[in-house]
């Protein structure tokens, strides 16, 4: 009777252990499948540790603390300035309203374009949906992609594609 009881305890334990391994195996497989699915496009590739700097620079966090103190001082100065500016603004508002009317038409023409000066990393460039064409204008190599014109340049030490204004005559 006692032996039978022990046998059932061992059997129950074995079932639990088996279930645990099956679950772990399934998890591992899911992980492997994710990997096969290709790299996530949104993976960040650099951060505070990527430079390997030995502490010559202040961390972003401590900079944030300094910024907070500066912001407090600035706020007091700003309060004084605001009072003076209020009157000027009243006059400016009228002029601005006229300008906005003119700008709206220009914006409508350009809104399909990316902002000038935006830099695309190599991987972002490769993932663009359009098929780019290489155009040489006045000895300068441009890349045209839809309505946008790009030029290659080093930015932050990496090769990037930077949105530039459309070259003359195009």
């Amino acid at each position: 009777m006692m032996i039978w009881k022990w046998q059932s305890v061992i059997t129950v334990c074995a079932v639990f252990v088996a279930l645990f391994f099956v679950a772990t195996e399934a998890d591992a497989r899911r992980g492997a499948d994710n990997k096969r699915g290709g790299s996530d496009k949104s993976v960040s590739r650099s951060g505070p540790a990527s430079k390997g700097s030995l502490g010559g620079e202040k961390s972003a966090r401590s900079n944030r603390q300094d910024n907070k103190a500066d912001a407090r001082d600035d706020r007091n100065d700003r309060r004084d300035d605001v009072r003076d500016d209020r009157n000027d603004r009243h006059d400016d508002r009228r002029d601005y309203r006229d300008d906005v009317r003119d700008d709206r038409q220009d914006y409508y023409d350009d809104r399909q374009r990316r902002r000038i000066g935006v830099a695309l990393t190599r991987s972002a460039w490769r993932s663009l949906s359009c098929k780019s064409s290489k155009v040489i204008v006045g000895g300068v190599t441009y890349y045209r992609c839809g309505n946008d014109w790009y030029t290659q340049a080093y930015k932050g030490g990496s090769v990037t594609y930077i949105v530039v204004v459309t070259p003359a005559g195009h």
């Binding site: 951060g47 961390s59 000066g117 006045g138 300068v140 014109w149 090769v159 530039v164 459309t166």
Partner: protein, 262 residues
């Protein structure tokens, strides 16, 4: 029965001694906190002085660093670097990132040249100065700090010693088959561990930097694989011969881009 009583007694003695051991260990850790051990400082000084006085060297290094993702997961990236320095004003760094991107950063005393053969591009900017100045220019003006550049700057000692809050000589430790002194230092920005070869050539063999003020405390880890202190350096090592079909592109930080922006 007697045996059982002895076992029970031993068990009680063992249980009573555990908290005492833990407290003792805690006390010794507290004692070392905030102190800079003479031996640790000596290892650091010896190594940094030795490095700063090397007229030329070549070193290959493998490094990795943590990048915290939005998901909260830490992912490691890294690269292999071949560094050649000839003081006062020449260096070359060839890198191969783990993702396959490769290229070089060259300073020939007159110009700084960055090249990426995969994209068939290079860029150059005039600069005159010594190694430290050029590293500063590349890091600040071109926004391209070179990993491990602190190790070939002559102010490494000052950089490491600045604001050190505590220093610990951990132990003798073997890295890559070389017997080293292992030290652990802390300043207000980073904690770092350094393994320095014992003997008459106190060269760093490994470093781990922990950015303790950053979220999730990411680390930078590097292993110096091979040091050559009398490398054969040809003049061409520091010059860039433009390969066929390779074009020069500007630095966005320095040049006005054609097309007018930025």
């Amino acid at each position: 029965m007697r045996v059982l009583r002895i076992i029970l007694l031993l068990l009680i003695v063992a249980l009573l001694s555990v908290p005492t051991t833990v407290i003792a260990a805690g006390q010794s850790a507290e004692q070392s906190e905030g102190q800079v051990e003479e031996q640790a400082l000596e290892v650091l000084t010896r190594s940094t002085n030795y490095l700063a006085n090397l007229k030329q060297f070549h070193v290959s290094a493998e490094f990795g660093f943590d990048v915290l993702q939005k998901s909260g997961q830490m992912i490691e990236f890294g690269a292999h670097q071949e560094i050649t320095v000839q003081r006062p004003n020449h260096f070359r760094v060839d890198f191969t990132n783990r993702d396959g991107e490769f290229g070089s950063v060259i300073y020939d005393g007159e110009e700084v040249i960055l090249s990426n053969p995969e994209d068939a591009v290079y860029a150059k900017a005039p600069f005159k100065g010594e190694v430290d100045d050029a590293l500063g220019f590349i890091s600040k003006e071109l926004q391209r700090p070179i990993p491990l550049q602190d190790f070939f700057a002559s102010n490494l000692g000052a950089l490491l010693m600045a604001k050190i809050e505590s220093g610990l000589y951990v132990e003798e430790s073997t890295v890559g088959g070389v017997l080293c002194d292992h030290v652990a230092m802390r300043n207000d920005n980073v904690d770092f561990q350094l393994w320095v070869a014992q003997g008459d050539k106190p060269l760093p063999r490994r470093i781990i930097i922990t950015y303790k003020n950053e979220e999730e405390r990411p680390q930078f880890r590097a292993q110096f694989l091979k040091w050559e202190l009398s490398p054969k350096i040809a003049k061409e090592n520091f010059s860039f011969i433009v390969p066929e079909k390779t074009v020069r592109i500007p630095f966005a930080e320095l040049d006005v881009l054609e097309g007018g922006q930025p």
